[in-house]
């Protein structure tokens, strides 16, 4: 059992990517710096902040999530499944006469169909969010422990377009980073 838990943990252990991180002490500077880094042509970089910042998505050039589409498609699937399932259980496989109503009565089954829609849509959204974010992540690399309380960072991974460690270091310094380091994230 202990072995299983350990192998599960190691499977979930986040594999950090090497790259360059810059640290700022002010969130407005971070948004400005992110916009400049985007202008410099980087696409895969990430911003790390202890709280949500308005405008950081636009500054980093992060496109809108496609999760709404997953929600919509699974919601539609759930709806159709509900229609088929209520028909199959109540009218086809085990038909029961309830109060003399038609075997397949839409009015009675709309609550079930509605709940199936919500169930499929909600579970698929959460599942997709977990998958896309690569969760669960165990023991991820830490750039700076203060990033969860008072500091802000930008991180450019080495596989980003036009990556050059010295160039990124200089860029971060020019943008006012108080600290720049080669690290993993």
């Amino acid at each position: 059992m202990a072995n299983f838990a350990e192998s599960l943990m190691s499977a979930c252990r986040a594999k950090g990517k090497p790259g360059v991180a810059g640290i700022w002490l002010d969130e407005h500077q971070l948004v400005k710096a992110a916009a400049k880094v985007k202008e410099a042509g980087f696409k895969k970089f990430d911003a790390i902040s202890p709280f949500p910042i308005h405008g950081i998505d636009e500054a980093c050039g992060i496109p809108r999530s496609y999760i709404p589409w997953i929600t919509f498609i699974f919601g539609l699937t759930g709806c159709l499944f509900g229609v088929w399932f209520t028909w199959w259980t109540s009218a086809e496989n085990w038909a029961l006469n309830i109060g003399g109503k038609p075997m397949w009565s839409l009015a009675a089954f709309i609550p079930v169909i509605f709940e199936c829609t919500i169930l499929f849509a909600a579970l698929s959204s959460v599942g997709a969010m977990i998958l896309i974010n690569g969760l669960p992540k165990v023991d991820p690399p830490v750039i700076d422990p203060d990033l969860t309380c008072s500091k802000f960072a930008l991180f450019v991974p080495e596989d980003d377009h036009g990556y050059d460690a010295d160039r990124v270091t200089k860029l971060f310094r020019d943008l006012g980073a108080v600290e720049v380091k080669r690290t993993e994230f």
């Binding site: 919509f72 009015a107 609550p111």
Partner: protein, 399 residues
């Protein structure tokens, strides 16, 4: 921008264009003429038509007051820049009070329980007589409108006063008044809908009726607010105050209450369908035959399914033209909804609809536009000295 002080904001003035004045004057004239003509040819029809349009615009006015109260109760910051516009809707309430007095003149043509001989021969109506009698009806109607006008004077009056004094304590004082208004509104509007609409068919009853009416009220109020914002934006009056982020949140409300309306409408229908009791199904049966079936289906399709899908994507709530189209559809369907509640009591067999209904509606629309335009030209279009205005100036919707 972030450092911009509240003191630097100047009041925004709306001037009524001649075109607007002409439009609402013509509307009011057409409405009055159509009402008088219909009154001569068909009294019952004239009063039924009057009742729909009266209820429609009373709901919009109350919706404005309710929305204002909710913003104060929740201490909402995002909505400060649009609050004056919903407050303008509430300025119709004194006119609606007069409309309610006029409605009393037609009560014998609308409600069978007002006739003593009918009640005497009807055990059920006799049983309901302690509530459903003309004296108590008048007391309730006058009482409800008195309360609404009184609350609107306090809630809207203080907000307008703040424009000149800039007194922050007014905002804090409005909190308990708004908290008090909410239960008053819930009860009075429920019984107002029972009295004016449900008692058209006095043998039938539904305890969810008030909630159903409220769902339509909020849905149509949001649609009307969006249209008013877009009209004033086109005139350039809301530049720097209201942008697509505020529209987005109003669009979310519109979407949410579209679903809420369908939820309540279906809840009422399903329970009656399931129980299958004659005294309850009597309401739906006439609405599922003759021409009324088409009206019932149109409600499901155009008051729920179409707006639901049309408002689902994020861009839909941030695109003014799209949002305007959906709002207009919802405002039309709100009329169809009230028509569906009222007109079957006039005729089970025939779906009567012609210029008489349209013009009487336009008459009320003219009066409503007149009240709103008058209020907005007398006061600043934006509550510029509200202490929470900075939140609204920098409103940003991420999702």
């Amino acid at each position: 921008m972030a450092e911009k002080s509240v003191k630097q904001l100047a009041p925004v003035h709306f001037t009524q264009s001649n075109r607007l004045k002409t439009i609402y004057s013509i509307f009011m004239f057409l409405g009055l003429a159509a009402f008088v003509v219909t009154l001569i040819t068909d009294k019952e029809r004239a009063w039924h038509s009057y009742l729909i349009s009266f209820f429609y615009f009373v709901s919009l006015a109350l919706g404005g007051l309710f929305f204002t109260a909710v913003q104060h109760v929740t201490k909402a910051g995002w909505s400060v820049n649009i609050r004056r516009l919903v407050e303008a809707f509430a300025s119709f309430l004194p006119y609606a009070f007069v409309g309610a007095i006029v409605l009393l003149l037609g009560s014998t043509h609308l409600y069978e329980w007002t006739h003593a001989d009918v009640v005497a021969n009807d055990p059920l109506l006799k049983h309901k007589a302690p509530y459903l009698n003309l004296t108590f009806f008048v007391i309730r109607l006058v009482g409800f409108f008195g309360l609404w006008v009184w609350f609107s004077k306090i809630l809207v009056g203080s907000s307008v006063k703040q424009d000149t004094t800039g007194d922050e304590s007014l905002t804090h004082k409005l909190l308990p008044w708004s908290v008090g208004f909410l239960p008053v509104f819930a009860l009075s509007y429920t019984f107002f809908s029972f009295d004016s609409l449900m008692s058209l068919e006095p043998h039938w009853f539904s305890t969810i009726y008030g909630v159903y009416a409220f769902a339509g009220l909020f849905q149509s109020t949001m649609a009307a607010t969006i249209l008013l914002i877009l009209y004033l934006s086109k005139k350039g009056l809301l530049r720097g105050f209201v942008d697509e982020n505020h529209l987005h949140d109003l669009g979310k409300f519109l979407f949410g209450f579209t679903v809420f309306w369908a939820y309540i409408a279906f809840s009422q229908y399903m329970l009656i369908w399931y129980a299958n009791l004659p005294e309850e199904t009597v309401y739906y049966l006439p609405r599922l035959e003759h021409g009324w079936l088409a009206v019932s289906i149109s409600l499901v399709v155009f008051k729920f399914i179409v707006p639901f899908l049309a408002l689902l994507p994020r861009w839909a709530k941030r695109t003014p033209t799209h949002l305007a189209a959906v709002s207009i559809l919802i405002l039309i369907m709100q009329y169809v909804d009230l028509y569906w509640l009222v007109y079957p009591s006039l005729s089970h067999e025939e779906v009567k609809f012609s210029f008489s209904e349209i013009f009487i509606f336009l008459g009320f629309a003219g009066l409503f536009l007149f009240a709103v335009a008058r209020f907005l030209s007398k006061n600043s279009v934006v509550a510029i000295k509200d202490p929470r205005i900075q939140e609204s100036l920098h409103h940003h919707v991420v999702y």
